[in-house]
């Protein structure tokens, strides 16, 4: 059975993982390569890197960081920030990214979605929908440039267009809830997930296990992305997976050798690969 995914997200600024509130007030949260390895061993189903210094010129250091990260982990890696052309897409994929995420460049140049999907496949084009609620209505407006620029574009309409143009997944972030840890914007998630047939990744607002549950049920999301809840040590992934699994959400059990190791090292020493027989005992909620 296809499981729902838990995806830690790293906002990377000048080579450090940071986390803000409503896209500002950034706090340092650690070294990206170390964090990626640790989360991957801790049961993360995928990882997302968003380079929020992307408008700067130093792309080489970003490529290097992505390559070093991709070399450490054996789960899918999505990279966003500053990707403007199919050449940029190709560079990121060559560095070891599996998918790229575009927001500003896709809004400014929607053809990029189709070109990227055509050349590299829809599966690697994730369109990030950063949106803010309009007044008290159930309508949301797209923002670009890291949340600084309102566009007047309706989020649900744009989500539909992005999929029609070839997006393979949508990463839907509520700017209202981002970083507040008060729960995802469920009406926005539901409005978008009802309109598209591609997977929707919920983002912005995770603070408690029930927030993830709500996004995956009421919000109709296929995956939940979170940052603060992980970086500041509130919950680890295996705890969240157990919580969700007990409530009937299909989850991938952690790897047998690294399940409890979400702190240090990458546990990939060759001597640990001899005995995998314990994995049959892992099916806590998978075979109901």
């Amino acid at each position: 059975m296809l499981t729902k995914r838990i995806i830690p997200c790293f906002d990377v600024d000048n080579g450090r993982v940071v986390k803000g509130i409503s896209f500002v007030e950034l706090r340092d949260a650690g070294d990206p390569v170390e964090l990626a390895a640790s989360y991957s061993n801790g049961g993360a189903d995928e990882l997302v890197f968003l380079d929020i210094t992307a408008s700067s010129d130093n792309r080489t250091s970003v490529y290097d960081m992505i390559a070093r990260t991709a070399d450490q982990i054996f789960v899918p890696l999505t990279v966003g920030g500053g990707i403007r052309t199919t050449h940029d897409v190709r560079m990121m994929l060559e560095m070891g990214a599996d998918k790229i995420s575009v927001n500003t460049s896709a809004v400014e140049n929607p053809e990029l979605i189709g070109e990227g999907a055509h050349r590299f496949g829809s599966q690697c084009i994730v369109v990030a929908v950063d949106a803010k609620r309009i007044g008290n209505e159930d309508r949301w407006e797209i923002y670009t440039h890291g949340g600084r620029t309102p566009t007047g574009i309706d989020a649900v309409e744009w989500a539909r267009e992005a999929v029609d143009r070839g997006a393979g997944e949508l990463l839907v972030t509520s700017m209202d809830t981002d970083g507040h840890q008060t729960g995802y914007d469920l009406p926005m998630l539901r409005s978008i997930s009802d309109r598209v047939e591609v997977p929707v990744i919920a983002s912005g607002g995770a603070g408690k296990p029930e927030h993830l549950y709500d996004a995956l049920t009421e919000g109709g999301a296929d995956a939940v992305l979170a940052a603060s809840i992980f970086h500041f040590g509130t919950y680890d992934i295996s705890t969240l997976k157990q919580y969700l699994s007990e409530r009937g959400i299909p989850m991938r059990p952690p790897d047998p050798h690294t399940a409890s190791d979400s702190g240090s090292g990458n546990g990939s020493g060759s001597e640990t690969h001899g005995d995998r027989t314990s994995s049959e005992a892992e099916s806590e909620g998978g075979d109901a």
Binding site: P76, G96, H118, Q123, R252, H273, G274, S283
Partner: protein, 221 residues
Amino acid sequence: MSDVVIVDYGAGNLRSVARAVAHAGVEAIVSSEARAVAQAKALIVPGVGAAADTMANLRSGGLDGPIRDYIASGKPFLGVCMGLQALFDVSEEGGTHECLGVLPGRIVRFPLGLTVPHIGWNTVELVREHPVFDGIPSGSYFYFVHSYHPAPTDESAVIGETEYGVRFPAVMGEGNLIATQFHPEKSSEAGLRFYANFLRLACERGSIAPPETAATGASGA
């Protein structure tokens, strides 16, 4: 020169595959040369992307014939994702595209009404034993990302199946050939084990030199 060759045809997650192979203690080369394909002692065709582009790239690179010849030679072959789909007769992705014709059958889209692409971790149920799954229990999770799936006319080469709206072959195996719809290089421990097994089998057949570490669990050396 390394004996393990990863085919570069212009779109693919080559680095991830090379890293997974390296994790098993084997160094691979990434090549787009027909000659390297012919001389390989273990060949891996990875892939992400669209079928039409994949086939166009393989043909324009002069790689389609050499890959077919390589598989016919009986040496160990691994196809991943698009590298599996390209083995069939025809893909229906974006029209009707002739593929390599090594495995009989078509590549078809998931039925309407499902969330597509099929993205994420899903279980693979083994319907036949195969040494490439040594130490990997049936029902293990692997990472998938695809909108089309194999519909073989000959079920005898199906090794493992996955359920997503339909039950489809996730692993095909026949003689020297093994191919997966999932991405073992993105499937954490089970996937690394899978690569290690493939390389160990290649080694046991005398095709490639033994891995440099004990990471594969292989006893030979």
